[in-house]
Amino acid sequence: MRKELRLTVNGQPYELYVKPKTLLVEVLRNNLGLTGTKRSCESSSCGVCTVILNGMAVKSCSILALQADGAEITTVEGLANDGKLHPLQRAFLDYGAYQCGFCTAGMLTSAKALLDENTKPTEEQIREAIDGNICRCTGYNSIIRAMTAVMNGEYKEEK
């Protein structure tokens, strides 16, 4: 039997009906068409499905959609504002923090969650924030450099 689910995703309210076994990542991708969030290991190991739920980075493959009832969620699609890329996204471009790009949505949302709660993290805290996100291409250094640049204020939000 389907149950009612209310979510606010990237500022937009949604009301839908889902089977209880539906995972949050499935709602985001299949029901809402927000395919920026990826699926991969489906066992909480890789971090590509990371989204920000009520201000916290979480793995959307390991949460039932109904457990997120009433929550405010930010996915990678919610980072850009009115067509202007988020500072993190511009830094990722400039520092070559992508290769295949599959981990990027998760890296960006984990980085955003860190930036939101701590504007002056240490390098150790930056590394820890993406500890749950696996990247098999970049060796992480370019990602950490990009995040550090944003934390150091090298990128401002474009108005």
């Binding site: 209880p20 793995k59 390991s62 984990s110 749950g132």
Partner: protein, 291 residues
């Protein structure tokens, strides 16, 4: 594939207990679900009813009582424990353990009670709580009972919880003076589970620094978290030397009952117990002297 199930999200503890009583053996409780959903996806657990207690705020708290005991509601997230000022100040080993438990994302959603009830012998909280001599409160429709964390586990993924009961609170007594507690785990990737974990609490006598009391707890070295009691007996009452700690590691290794799996052979785990008991014991002594 996850099986279809009916989903109920009670709002209060009372409502939850009534549901548990009503559905008897057909339900599974989900808290954060960080372990449960993986097992459901593998088809290992197929409940007819899933009772979601994640939103029950009355089981989500960190406080100290009049005896200065630490009381943690079962639904408190790992992240909240990791960041709690009270815990960082007076029970810092708990915060340290949580900092190394899985990834930030998992700690943000997963709860300490869910971790304990999952009963995985590789779990991080249980060995530290046993070293801290912590107690659990189990609540059922007919009342409450208390049990030491050390007596909570029966076997792999099996605890003393009966149908109709849930874990409601964790109580940690104040740490005696001249006591040092340390925990470490051996793993390949920082956010992985322990291949072997060791928690040790050592209390030294104030006048001559002999070992007054000791608890050596091994994780993922047996079907459930276990104390290496013979090794503890060796240390109790003695001046702890390097040689004696090494011997305690060897005895702990003999007491352990590990299995071989994809992560390590039983032989390798026994070797790890030897090394880690000595290493963690040294750290516990250093901390006891500083306390």
């Amino acid at each position: 594939m996850i099986n279809d199930f009916d989903y109920i999200a009670p709002k209060t503890l009372k409502e939850t207990l009534t549901l548990l009583d009503q559905y008897r053996e057909d339900y599974k409780i989900i808290a954060g679900g960080q372990s449960l959903l993986i097992m459901m996806r593998q088809g290992l657990i197929k409940p007819n009813y899933l009772i979601d207690i994640h939103g029950i705020s009355e089981l989500n708290y960190i406080k100290t009582d009049f005896k200065k005991r630490l009381r943690i509601g079962a639904l408190t997230t790992h992240r909240a424990i990791e960041r709690s000022p009270v815990i960082k100040k007076s029970f810092s080993v708990l915060a340290e353990m949580e900092n190394r438990l899985a990834s930030v994302q998992t700690r943000n959603w997963g709860s300490i009670g869910g971790n304990l009830c999952h009963g995985d012998p590789a779990g991080d909280p249980a060995p530290v709580l046993i070293a801290l001599n912590a107690t659990l409160t189990i609540t059922g429709v007919h009342g409450e009972r208390n049990i030491l964390v050390e007596d909570f586990f029966l076997d792999y993924f099996e605890t003393v919880l009966e149908h109709g009961e849930l874990l409601s609170e964790i109580q940690v007594p104040t740490i005696p003076s001249n006591t040092g507690i340390a925990y470490t785990k051996f793993n390949v990737i920082e956010s992985d589970m322990a291949i072997v974990g060791v928690a040790i609490s050592i209390t030294l006598t104030s006048k001559d620094g002999h070992c007054e009391d000791v608890r050596i707890v091994l994780a993922n070295s047996a079907p459930k978290p276990m104390r290496a009691k013979q090794a503890e007996d060796l240390l109790r009452g003695k001046k702890i030397t390097d040689h004696l700690l090494k011997k305690a590691g060897e005895i702990s290794s003999d007491e352990a009952d590990p299995i071989s799996d994809i992560h390590a052979s039983a032989e390798y785990r026994r070797e790890l117990v030897k090394v880690l008991v000595k290493r963690v014991g040294e750290e516990a002594i250093t901390r006891a002297k500083k306390s």
